[in-house]
Symmetry: none
Amino acid sequence: MLSVERKLKIAEMVGKNGGIRTSELSDIFSVSEMTVLRDLATLEKQGVLTRVYGGAVSSQSYSVETPNIVREKIRTTEKNKIASLASKLIDEGDNIFLDGSTTTHALAKRLYNFKKIKVVTIGLDILNELKDIEGVEVISPGGVLDKVTMNFLGRSTEEFLENLNSDKAFISTTAISIKAGLTEPNPQQTFIKKIMLENAQQKILLADNSKYDVIALNRICDLSDLDVIITDNKPDDKYFHFFKQNNIKVLY
Amino acid sequence: MLSVERKLKIAEMVGKNGGIRTSELSDIFSVSEMTVLRDLATLEKQGVLTRVYGGAVSSQSYSVETPNIVREKIRTTEKNKIASLASKLIDEGDNIFLDGSTTTHALAKRLYNFKKIKVVTIGLDILNELKDIEGVEVISPGGVLDKVTMNFLGRSTEEFLENLNSDKAFISTTAISIKAGLTEPNPQQTFIKKIMLENAQQKILLADNSKYDVIALNRICDLSDLDVIITDNKPDDKYFHFFKQNNIKVLY
DNA sequence: TTGACAATCAACAAAATATAACATAAACTA
DNA sequence: TAGTTTATGTTATATTTTGTTGATTGTCAA
């Protein structure tokens, strides 16, 4: 990627998210932090953004809020770590499924450096994240908007997805258990995740450690059906061994 | 390959990609980097692209044009007047179609006082407008997001709409003429509007006075197919009489 | 307030890219 | 055919960008 392109994208990201960490940018664009710092300095001189300790915020939001609150905003979370690892699995030219969750939303934020990928997602927030990213073709299955999760759900959503195939499906879940597999409280969400997984070459689960040893009502699939699991920390031994046995790649 | 041919292709690639590296071009065309640099210098002189360290970017991507945001800001008073009139046609319990335009967006902003209506729309901006309105059930046909208009378009969008019926369709257009009827420059938009009109009990056109006596390539329908036309001012006599004759209600 | 930690900065080194000057080869012209 | 033009490649040098290191500074929690 050209350095001007990178700067442009940084400016876009800051404008959209309000603020971002230096470390995150370094990770997303695979350049050293020093380079990011230099980029930010240039952009600040141009008045595009305001630098703060740890990263940068958009010039507008800074004038209203105190620096402390802003810092809070840009703090990295487990989700960002998972999103970072997940983004490294995506190749140029890929066709990917994203279900609608805060974790996949974090992943969507890391798609700025791609030139040509297709993303199919049921999350309205994710659609909004992707709508201005040039290199991403955005496809929505549509459906009825669930105002609680801001996901499109329903029979027509499922039908749409049944007719699509993708290289990779990035799915999150609320409950993981060796016995019960992946489970979900909401049946409609379950259907969607199920279809996405079935129609993807590579089935990738995004789940932080709070999800282990929990069981919900509706079954999505067995753990052994997955190809990759991305977590924030090394999972419990029993899970780790199970994953190894079933030839599931674990990233953390 | 001829050198002019190569330059043409480089210009194309830059326009399509937004930007490209010198090294990449050298690789693609199997010429030395020096030759690429000379090509880029020529193309820059012609104003086709802008050279940057490491390659070149399209001259356009450097300019800060955002068509949708600009369009949003012109003729706002007319649009608001039309939206206000249109909102009075909606009844509690209705099921309505909204196409994706700045005028229908203005209408969407006026749906806060409804308790129970269903809205089907292809406009992402409209979806965002409606997502927090409690009394509105939001349905999206989905499809491929057109980043210029921020509308969902494509075959699947059409199929979705073909299977739906609504009480009222609110459609805008770029061109109105007695002879040519409603016309549109974009064929995909045309299909969508056509289907929305066909599947609605009441066909309502939203169009400010700038649209009259204009003809575009793709025909949506005849003027006589419409039930209601909402404008910002009383239309020209010839239109006014035509509407009366064809029993079309005119609001302004 | 201070110590621990992370982020920044400054200075330098390394890598990538651009430029200029010259050499070569092909295409064109008289 | 010889001479001229044009496009391209090569090399050496200059410039820009990026990475690395260690010193410095900012932040937070004890």
